[in-house]
């Protein structure tokens, strides 16, 4: 099932893609792909491939400005996953605490 969250999880599962994403987050501004590629040992073609995966997940946006292609990071999809996880982390913690005191009081 290739839905949105699956794509996001797949995109950030790869260490190089995480580095690329991280570099764009730190830059806070759109970077030309040429400049971004120079920061990585892998080929420009390799970087472009990773960028495409990140773009499909909605984690980066690529735009053309003149001859150069620029990309910038978009962290919003990650927040959606984070919210889900944070909610259930807390939910299960609370529930297990309740279970624990329930068992303690049960005769």
């Amino acid at each position: 099932m290739q839905d949105k969250i699956t794509k996001i999880l797949k995109a950030i599962a790869d260490p190089t893609r995480r580095e690329i994403f991280h570099a764009l987050i730190i830059a806070t501004t759109a970077l030309p792909i040429t400049q971004l590629s120079n920061q990585f040992v892998i080929s420009r073609q390799g970087v472009t491939k990773h960028l495409k995966t990140l773009e499909e997940a909605g984690l980066i946006v690529i735009s053309n400005q003149g001859r150069e292609r620029y990309c910038h990071a978009n962290a919003k999809p990650l927040q959606e996953i984070n919210q889900w996880l944070k909610f259930y982390e807390q939910f299960w913690d609370t529930s297990l605490k309740n279970l624990s005191s329930y068992l303690d009081k049960k005769i």
Binding site: M1, I5, T6, P77, E80, I81, T94, S95, Y102, D104
Partner: protein
Amino acid sequence: MNDSIKKEHVFQHPIDKVWDAISIEKEISSWFIKADFKAEKGYYYTFNSEGEHCTQINGVIVEADPYTLIYTWIVEGTKAETTVKWTLEEVEEGTKLYLEHSGISEYEGDTAVDMFNSFNNGWNNCINKLTEYLKAVYAG
């Protein structure tokens, strides 16, 4: 990023006592959520079946053999199916529980946000009420 939530907890109680608490309708309704529940494979359960402002959760029992309990977890108003797995193990101090809630990757991004919002409005209330209930019952 992992797509599941895992919890471990040791209860200083015998394994059967913990098993009953997580698998018997009356007990689940006491500490967890008001339930229509039978620990039988194939049973369609409902949590918050009588809740007025509570988000309903339902699903089917996938496995219910001591000491493993697995059921699907579908939040009302969403189509995505997640899975909750309870596993108990006897340890020296009592009983060790492994809890796993998996399947977030089944959610579409927007659905995850909708669900989160609906919980904020509904479900948290139910949990708070539950905590109050427990406090009141065990106050003496």
